[in-house]
């Protein structure tokens, strides 16, 4: 019981800190991209799809997150299980700006050897949000 209370407190504290949602983060990156270029056409799920599956230096996003981001993935080096990336399959994704930025920094560096642009981040989230629940096979 005591543990349950502690856990609940931790969850509530976490929820207070991470008030973002995939939609609000998409809007943040869209606004940043629009501020950089007047010609910015807005986020594109199609471009995000291409970006997700395109191989960079050695890996693509799909190398660890699989070709279908609604599926659980596996770390390309260590084999460690990775929970699904698409918010429809895993509601814990894209709920925190800090966490999202941390993983963009690491993973863009690993796949592309550089940071991702706000436009690429917006496209990627638009793509992931365009994926609904996977129908049963």
């Amino acid at each position: 019981m005591k543990r349950a209370v502690l856990l609940l407190t931790a969850v509530c504290a976490g929820a207070a800190v991470h008030a973002e949602s995939p939609g609000s983060l998409l809007e943040t990156y869209r606004a940043a991209a629009a501020a950089q270029s007047v010609a910015y056409p807005g986020p594109s799920a199609r471009r995000g799809d291409d970006f997700f599956h395109a191989r960079g230096k050695e890996w693509s996003c799909a190398s660890c997150h699989t070709a279908d981001p609604r599926q659980p993935g596996r770390h390309a080096v260590t084999g460690k299980a990775i929970r699904a990336l698409a918010p429809a399959a895993n509601p814990d994704r894209f709920n925190s700006r800090e966490k999202t930025e941390k993983w963009f920094k690491r993973n863009c560096n690993d796949t592309l050897g550089r940071e991702c642009t706000s436009e690429e981040k917006a496209d990627l989230i638009a793509y992931l949000l365009s994926l609904g629940h996977r129908s049963a096979p």
């Binding site: 260590t78 460690k80 941390k102």
Partner: protein, 160 residues
């Protein structure tokens, strides 16, 4: 009044742990790792591999690893300063000085430790290559409770 036979082993363990904790806590009121630090270690290190317990490398080796998180065995594992401090407390790793962190010397590896080789000398090469194992970094493929720091023989299940 309980006689000695009525005291369960679990009680003894709990009291021993509590006594030990109080003894340690009273001596290290500031620098002791906290529950939060453990959670940070689990979430930051444990996303990509088992959050290896501190005991698997000497403190100086952990300092080298933490000093180069942007080049972490082929991937970028950068941490913000707050998380890095928590991980470093949890791994008992002192902040590395410039001399300890060179960009050219190879990072230490748990798997190259002599104790690691001795402990695993009966594991055949093809066992390491099994898809369910994949890498020697994947402790919990065989050590089911590795994430909790438990590497006891009784808890080993080598996947087919």
């Amino acid at each position: 009044m309980k006689t000695i036979t009525q005291i369960r082993p679990a009680d003894l363990v709990a009291w021993s742990v509590a006594t030990l904790f109080l003894a340690v806590a009273s001596h290290r009121p500031v620098v002791a790792a906290t529950t939060d630090d453990r959670a940070v270690l689990q979430s930051e290190c444990g996303s990509c591999h088992v959050a290896y317990p501190a005991k698997l490398l000497p403190p100086a080796a952990w300092s080298q690893v933490l000093g180069r998180l942007d080049q972490h065995y082929g991937v970028d594992a950068s941490l913000d300063a707050t998380s890095a401090a928590a991980v470093s407390r949890q791994l008992h790793a002192p902040r590395a000085s410039g001399a300890q962190v060179t960009r050219t010397t190879p990072l230490p590896r748990i798997t190259r430790s002599s104790w690691f080789r001795d402990e695993h000398d009966e594991v055949r090469a093809d066992t390491w290559r099994r898809p369910a194992v994949k890498s020697a970094a994947n402790c919990d493929a065989c050590h089911r409770d590795a994430a909790r720091g438990d590497f006891e023989e009784d808890n080993i299940r080598i996947p087919r």
